[in-house]
Amino acid sequence: MAERERHATPPRGGVFVARTMVMDAADLRRAVTRIAHEIVERNHGVDGVALIGLQTGGVPLARRLGAALADVEGSVPLGTLDVAFYRDDIGLRPVVPEAVTDITFDLSGRTVVLVDDVLFTGRTVRAALNALNDYGRPRAVQLAVMVDRGHRQLPIRPDYVGKNLPTRFDEQVDVSEEGVAIGDVVRP
């Protein structure tokens, strides 16, 4: 699960303990390369395509995807977005931005590919779609995630998926440089 969701999940302040590695670093690299090709194929090149990584888990992934796209076809603008102020659970739990949003290019008329590490309830993506509206009117918005773990609570589906990973609702999924792990958050 993405960092920003994990720190609010009980037990608060716990640490993530991995139970199973489901993807290793090489799997992750292959998935990034494949998604890059899929983006190029779907959009007939990278003209007008922009990548936006969701803070914090989606940002390193968006950078890697940007590098892969540059290898495959050409470089695209890269931005980062923090959706804290657009979440629907403000006031129910601590919602504090992790980082400052950084989108220096105009989104109007572009095809924006939102990038996140884990797709779970879909609420982060819903917030991100609202946030994008305030930065311009993209021609289209697509969604790329490394892991789709199910349990959607909103009608949102990804366009590019690294791995479909069935999980229990209370499990945690961690995406890092080393790969993807399933585990639990336990109090130290």
């Binding site: 804290a84 102020f85 403000i90 919602v95 609202n130």
Partner: protein, 316 residues
């Protein structure tokens, strides 16, 4: 954290958290559509028993940019002119179901009394000579955004310290963030006792001027002065005013600050206010973002301001 009444409510960690959150709201304020839906459905009332332009507009702009609804109360057009007392006015407003009351009053301590009567969060927007915490926060943010940090900076607060709530809040905040603060004023404009203030005192601006990182001019508050505390405005300007000549002796990287409204030609000359090192308009612009951060922390985030979650602090 329920209320923001004084800088000491925050402590160094709390100030730091507000300043980091302010970075995000500066980004929001710079957009084509400078508005986020964070506080939809919340109501913020400004209750000003004393005149104000910038603080009131700044709070209302901040609330609107967070999508909160705002109500405004001014004494002259309210039931106060029919003799309604403070407590009745405040309880009436609270009964309407507001979420935050931003209060300014000419008497020190009023925000504390109000906080004890209401369900809403109370933000002190200036009480008498006592505290003005959001001004201190925006001053810290302005300095930090230019100089990276306040740690080790030499800051002089010049002028009417005795009548200044800005000075009291600023001294607490600057010192908490590690700056070394000097008060520069004639003895008549200093409080009777400075015991417990983390400051040095100097009576001559020219003695400290050349070594300063920040010179902070205060407004000479003639409306609060009941006796002749200075011989004349002209003499005050000669000894304590930031004239163009004195501005020339400041270091090239020094900052010139003023909380406004300025008495041009008294505590600051027009040339000094317009100097490239002056950040007076940046203070106003940052004021909106800082107040967004304060309102968001009180009404929206559910975050405990005094003791930030360790994992949040680690990730930021």
């Amino acid at each position: 954290m329920k209320h923001l009444l004084e800088v000491a409510d925050l402590g160094a960690d709390g100030i730091d958290q507000v300043l980091r959150l302010t970075d995000s709201f500066v980004e929001v304020s710079g957009r084509t559509i400078p508005k986020v839906p964070a506080l939809r459905g919340k109501t913020v009332v400004s209750l000003f028993y004393e005149d104000s332009t910038r603080t009131r507009l700044s709070f209302e702009t901040a609330a609107k940019r967070l999508s909160a609804d705002t109500m405004s109360f001014s004494v002259s057009s309210s039931s106060v002119s029919k003799g309604e007392g403070l407590r009745d006015t405040v309880e009436t407003i609270d009964a309407m179901g507001v979420d935050a009351i931003v209060v300014r009053h000419k008497s020190s301590g009023v925000p504390w009394r109000i906080a004890s009567w209401v369900r809403a969060s109370v933000v002190n927007a200036g009480d008498g000579w006592h505290e003005h915490p959001t001004q201190a926060l925006l001053d810290c943010y302005t300095i930090r955004s230019r100089r990276g940090s306040l740690d080790g900076l030499r800051i002089a607060i010049v002028g009417d310290i005795a009548h200044s709530r800005v000075a009291r809040s600023d001294v607490t905040a600057f010192a908490a963030l590690g700056a070394s603060v000097t008060l520069v004023a004639p003895p008549t404009l200093l409080p009777p006792s400075l015991e417990g203030w983390p400051v040095q005192v100097c009576h001559r601006l020219d003695e400290v001027l050349g070594g300063l990182d920040v010179v902070y001019l205060l407004r000479l508050q003639r409306e609060r002065m009941t006796e002749a505390l200075i011989p004349s405005l002209r003499e005050y300007r000669t000894l304590y005013g930031l004239t163009a000549e004195r501005a020339g002796r400041l270091r090239p990287d020094a900052l010139i600050m003023h909380p406004g409204p300025m008495n041009r030609g008294v505590e600051i000359d027009a040339e000094a206010a317009g100097d490239a090192r002056s950040v007076i308009t940046a203070q106003v612009a940052n004021g909106v973002a800082v107040r967004m951060a304060v309102l968001y922390l009180l009404l929206g985030s559910g975050a405990d301001l005094v003791a930030p979650l360790p994992e949040l602090a680690a990730q930021a």
